[in-house]
């Protein structure tokens, strides 16, 4: 198959970027999107041109490194799929494909399609630690957890922190990401002890990092490669309300 690419080229965060056109011919429809990008880069290097920078690591859809906008959607047209798991057969012959980096004030462009998502790491680290014994693997049945809670916590923990939610959101809000991280721990007994503090700190960091606020449009869940649900945001709000109330009451004592 043949494709016409339009790719955002920006040599560094401080310079201006432009869209450049590239054409690739005889692409096997069964290769992955990132393999197609490799073919393009090999071609560019052979022509002594600057290859396109993009983030990737595991290429198995579990690390959260890859991700850019394909035709206006984070991770492209296929539902619940990261860019690395997307294949060229999802596109048609002679299709125009537009590639842009994730756009948000809090995700500055490093180069081309690669953006700095350290703001996410800072939100995570502001959440602090979980009290747990180190050493040998804990005895599996010493803490019993209801199946529903374990399942929900697992669904929340599936978040790979790729940033697609921020890119999909019209407000560049990091609520889905933060809420997945908050509810992943708040649903489990191990996460209870520091829970009240954790949610307050993570929301404060999220605000400081300049992310927008959530207007409950649901765009994030619609585009999330791991299908993290809106219910996580409701859980974050619950946690935040109870955290605020308990700290207000504590002060009065």
């Amino acid at each position: 198959m043949n494709i016409n690419l339009k790719i955002w080229r920006q040599s560094s965060g401080s310079t201006k970027g432009i869209l450049k056109s590239y054409r690739l011919e005889n692409i096997d429809p069964n290769i992955s999107f990132l393999e197609m990008m490799d073919i393009l880069n090999i071609k560019l290097v052979k022509e002594k041109k600057d290859p396109v920078a993009f983030d990737h690591d595991c290429r198995e859809g579990i690390c959260g490194s890859c991700g850019f906008m394909i035709n206006g959607s984070p991770h492209g047209p296929q539902k619940a799929t990261t860019v690395c798991q997307l294949h060229m057969r999802a596109f048609s012959n002679e299709e125009d494909i537009l590639l842009e980096p994730f756009r948000a004030e809090s995700f500055p462009v490093i180069k081309d399609l690669s953006v700095d998502r350290k703001a996410f790491d800072r939100i995570i680290s502001s959440g602090g630690y979980v009290s747990t014994n180190t050493g040998e693997a804990p005895e599996a049945n010493s803490i019993s957890i209801k199946k529903e809670y374990a399942d929900e916590a697992f669904l929340s923990s599936a978040c790979i922190g790729c940033g697609a939610c921020v890119a999909a959101c019209k407000n560049s809000s990091a609520m889905l990401f933060t809420s997945a991280k908050v509810s992943h721990l708040s649903l489990l007994p191990q996460g209870q002890k520091e829970g009240k503090d954790r949610v307050a700190k993570m929301v404060a960091t999220m605000d400081e990092e300049g992310f927008g606020s959530c207007t409950n449009t649901g765009a994030c869940s619609a585009e999330c490669p791991k299908e993290i649900g809106q219910v996580n945001i409701a859980r974050l709000n619950q946690e935040y309300i109870s955290s605020s109330l308990s700290s207000l009451l504590k002060k009065k004592e």
Binding site: A200, V203, G210, N216, E223, L248
Partner: protein, 219 residues
């Protein structure tokens, strides 16, 4: 966490918006209850408004809180809107419509509703309280030029209330999400009740200009 910190965080502002929004939606139900007296005839409506006036300062206190709710709802909404605009970078290709229009246009519909409220207070509320000029309350609403005697007022009223319903279509569910009702056992009841506020109550309001402004004039 201090109260100030709570109310100025993004989630805190949204909680404030959710609570004030829901309280205003409840007030709407009460307001409609009064408006429906119009259909019972001139005497019934005038008697109802007189009853309210007899409550005196209680009404003023209620009005103070209503203005406070509208003000803080609009103020928080505007600040969040500005923050959100700042957080977003321009994009040349934009995502397909993966969200509802009601959600994306909430700030716009809210602004129109705010303009409507301003005209609503400067006409009906002002006339009822200070500038009756011997007219009956019923006459002000159904016949006068600030009421549904004017087709322009009727049409603006219908459009504004329809937008208010659209605003609430997103607003009520959004408040449920912000207050953490989603994902609990109350979610279903809440969502079922929400249609009362975004559909049936606005429909009740709209029925009044449609009847008095148009149908009653023709038949």
């Amino acid at each position: 966490m201090s109260i100030l910190k709570l109310l100025t965080s993004s989630v805190g502002r949204k909680i404030l918006m959710a609570i004030t929004g829901l309280l205003l939606a409840f007030f709407m139900a009460f307001h409609l209850f009064g408006n429906l007296f119009l259909f019972l005839g001139e005497e019934a409506f005038n008697a109802y408004v007189n009853k309210l006036h007899q409550l005196g300062f209680l009404i003023r206190i209620a009005e103070f809180f209503l203005v406070l709710f509208v003000g803080s709802h609009a103020y928080s909404g505007t600040l969040l809107w500005l923050k959100n605009r700042k957080a977003k970078k321009v994009i040349s290709s934009y995502s397909k419509a993966n969200t509802s229009n009601a959600a994306r246009s909430a700030a716009f519909t809210g602004s129109i509703v705010f303009i409507f409220l301003a005209t609503h207070w400067s006409t009906f509320w002002y006339k009822f309280n200070f500038d009756l000029q011997g007219m009956s309350y019923y006459y002000v609403v159904t016949e006068s030029s600030v009421g549904f005697g004017s087709p322009a007022v009727s049409i603006f009223y219908i459009v504004a209330i329809a937008l208010l319903g659209y605003h609430l279509k997103h607003g009520i569910t959004s408040a449920g999400q912000t207050l953490g009702i989603v994902g609990t056992k109350y979610e279903k009841i809440y969502n079922n009740l929400s249609a009362i506020f975004w559909f049936w109550i606005p429909l009740g309001f709209i029925s009044i200009p449609i009847w008095f402004g148009f149908i009653a004039r023709v038949i």
